[in-house]
Amino acid sequence: MSEEQREEIDILESIYPDEIEIHSETSYSINLSLDTVPTRLLVVHVQYPRDYPEVVPILDIAVGDHEQDSDEEEEQRAVEQPQFTYDFTSSDVAELKASAKETAEENLGMPSVFAIVSLIKDAAEQMYEDRIKDMELARMKELEIAEEKEQAKFRGTPVTAESFAAWRTKFRAEMGWDQKKERPNGRLSGKEIFERGVEEEADEEEDED
């Protein structure tokens, strides 16, 4: 372990006294609490290769459980209940990792973990804000569309006695409601038989008597 590596860990320990967890001489993780509502946690794992800082550190980012200091969180929630909350997905984490790696490469040759961690925190907070904004926008759009749909029924051809009558004629024809009086085989109902005077008398009554 190089002097530079030890020195950086010392510095980080003083910057992140509560957040850092030392795993070994060359590896540690930093628990980042993001300034979001509700608080989201990210865990940044750092491992120094032998030649760091001449090579980039091995970085990993994980989404932490947000169980910590729940009291405080509850309080915060009571104060301001956000309409939307967002949980980082694996693709979000991958995106953060990519930008972290970029920063690491830019800082090749000097200790860069603080810069990287700060960048991750800022980028993640920005990302959270953006995602929430997207959700809000999507919701607004949804509401607009629903409202639009609801309003649409009041626009168009007005219903008047004339327009209704025209529609009704067309509609009834389409449904075939005016033809249903016609029965298969041209059979007539009993009423129609007598109305048209085409009935045969019940001459059987004499037979039976």
């Binding site: 219903v159 009704r168 059979r187 009993g190 009423k191 007598f194 008398e201 039976e208």
Partner: protein, 370 residues
């Protein structure tokens, strides 16, 4: 008495939180069975309670069929009633007008159809609130439910009313599930499926029956599509009513013709504007059709039939025997045969017995002994 309303709420909450999957299927089925039982208790007058509670509202059945109007306040039920029936019910242009049930009579094709405006909506009835219980028992006696809806309001209004009716055991435009259920004294539970069931199994049936404390019964499921809900309906048979429903969208003058067209195309729906008198004739025709009444014209021997005043029968009870019974209870004892003209026979006239099913607009001559 333990508060049933609370129990119902608990079950509903549990149903809402329980995820639907294979593992919870039986549990959900059981919960639904319990829910149906508690809802039933709620609708029954409590022991020792005022047993006459149901009577106060009841309106004597008159005419050939009964239509019950159901809808939210201010959708125009009362105005509709006064437009299509003879009896003028008091209509005021403000909300919550109808407090008692006012029957009107709709005369059509020689039939008298009683049309009942039920007070307000039955919302809350499924929780046993207010007079909901009486309203429900009246709605049950209807041959047709006419659900009056506001064309300017979102579709959700209809779903709310349907849910309420569903909760009190009224099934709209639905046939009774094809399941035979027989209580037995001994022999345990015997379940037979005529075809492999799609949505039920023996274990589910047995566990629901156990919850109802039914130990001995024969169950024959003929329709493979029968669901848990259907089966629960079958157990609660005497508290279920399968009633046709016509959805009547009022106030179409306030929406576009395009929307009117859309609404008219919904199943079992018709569109009207009570205030502008649009579509009322079509509505009456649809009511008539949905009631499935049969007009029978009597023809005295050797003379012309009376085509003005038909005898009205129900389609489900329209045999020559039913026709005889409308004349006199003892008439069928003297019955010899009937001559029938119309669509129910191959050749008009045709000689028919008591069991012959009469169709609409048939002309019938009855011949008696002696």
């Amino acid at each position: 008495m333990v508060n049933i309303t609370e129990k119902i709420e608990q079950i509903q909450q549990e149903l809402a939180r329980t995820q639907k999957n294979k593992a919870t299927e039986y549990h959900i089925g059981l919960l639904k069975g319990k829910l149906a039982r508690y809802r039933q208790q709620l609708l029954e007058p409590g022991p020792g309670g005022s047993s006459s509670a149901g009577q106060g509202f009841e309106v004597a059945k008159s005419g050939h069929a009964r239509v019950a109007l159901i809808g939210f306040p201010s959708v125009g039920k009362s105005s509709l009633l006064s437009k299509v029936t003879k009896t003028k019910s008091e209509v005021a242009q403000y909300a919550f007008t109808t407090l008692t049930s006012v029957p009107g009579v709709l005369e059509y094709e020689g039939a008298e159809i009683q049309v009942l405006d039920l007070p307000g909506i039955i919302q809350g009835a499924s929780e046993g609130k207010g007079r909901g219980r009486q309203v429900v028992s009246t709605a049950r006696t209807a041959d047709l439910i006419l659900m009056v809806l506001d064309a300017t309001k979102p579709d959700s209004q209809r779903a709310i009313l349907e849910r309420e009716l569903e909760a009190v055991g009224i099934r709209l435009n639905k046939e009774r599930p094809n399941v035979t259920f027989k209580l037995k004294q001994t022999g345990g539970i015997k379940v037979t499926f005529a075809q492999p069931p799609q949505k039920l199994d023996e274990k589910m049936i047995a566990s629901i029956l156990r919850d109802y404390r039914i130990m001995n019964a024969d169950v024959l499921v003929r329709d493979p599509e029968v669901t848990v809900e259907d089966f629960i309906d079958v157990i609660n048979e005497q508290h279920r009513s399968y009633i046709p429903c016509l959805y009547c969208y009022n106030k179409i003058d306030a929406v576009s013709l395009e929307e009117t067209d859309r609404l008219a195309r919904q199943p079992h729906s018709t569109v009207v504007s009570v205030s502008e008198s649009l579509g009322l004739q079509d509505l009456i025709e649809r009511i008539w059709e949905d009631l499935k009444l049969v007009r029978v014209y009597t023809k005295p021997k050797g003379s012309k039939p009376d085509l003005e005043e038909p005898v009205i029968l129900r389609l489900k009870r329209s045999t020559v025997e039913d026709f005889c019974n409308t004349i006199h209870r003892d008439f069928k004892d003297k019955f010899k045969f009937a001559m029938v003209w119309g669509t129910s026979v191959k050749h008009s006239p045709q000689k028919c017995g008591l069991g012959h099913a009469i169709e609409d607009e048939d002309v019938v001559s009855l011949f008696t002994r002696g």
